[in-house]
Amino acid sequence: MSDVNTRISSIVGDNDVVLFMKGTPLFPQCGFSSRAVAILDHCGVAYESVDVLQDMEIRQGIKGFSDWPTIPQLYVKGEFLGGSDIMMEMFEAGELQALLTEKNVAKAD
């Protein structure tokens, strides 16, 4: 495994919920990332975010890691769940909330 894959693996492994995004939850730099943040905030779960704009290696590496061409990307308990469209679809169907509960993810403070 390449170094960047090792780095991503450990980020995804060390945190229950991780959002790779452009910008930060307070200052998202892209509409899709902003939407992903809004969904997670609405679900009220604690999550780690990684700003790919601050890390070129991860920005490129994450696309190969998940075989997914776009950012944001959401991981829950090590599993790639999808981008903001899938998050929105799952959220609207109540599936995302159910999955986060089922996986026993910590609530936001």
């Binding site: 509409g31 899709f32 696309k63 075989d67 997914w68 061409p69 776009t70 950012i71 790639f80 769940l81 999808g82 981008g83 469209d85 899938i86 679809e89 799952m90």
Partner: protein
Amino acid sequence: MPMSASEITRLITEALPGAEVDLQDLAGDDDHWAAKVTAPQFAGKNRVQQHKMVYEALGGRMGGVLHALQLTTATPT
């Protein structure tokens, strides 16, 4: 260069024959699209796999020349 609606539709239907592609130009700039793709090939696949099939159809343009494509996938009913 943004991608035209007909180009996006052509690439998707070539890779997924029988697919229906419903495109909306979100910003009126030929660059921010919402697509609903309904394809028989999606049957039995999860959402991530379905979206990957569309991205593959677009042949690496997604995230590149095609910056903004909001995607919804479905199987025909």
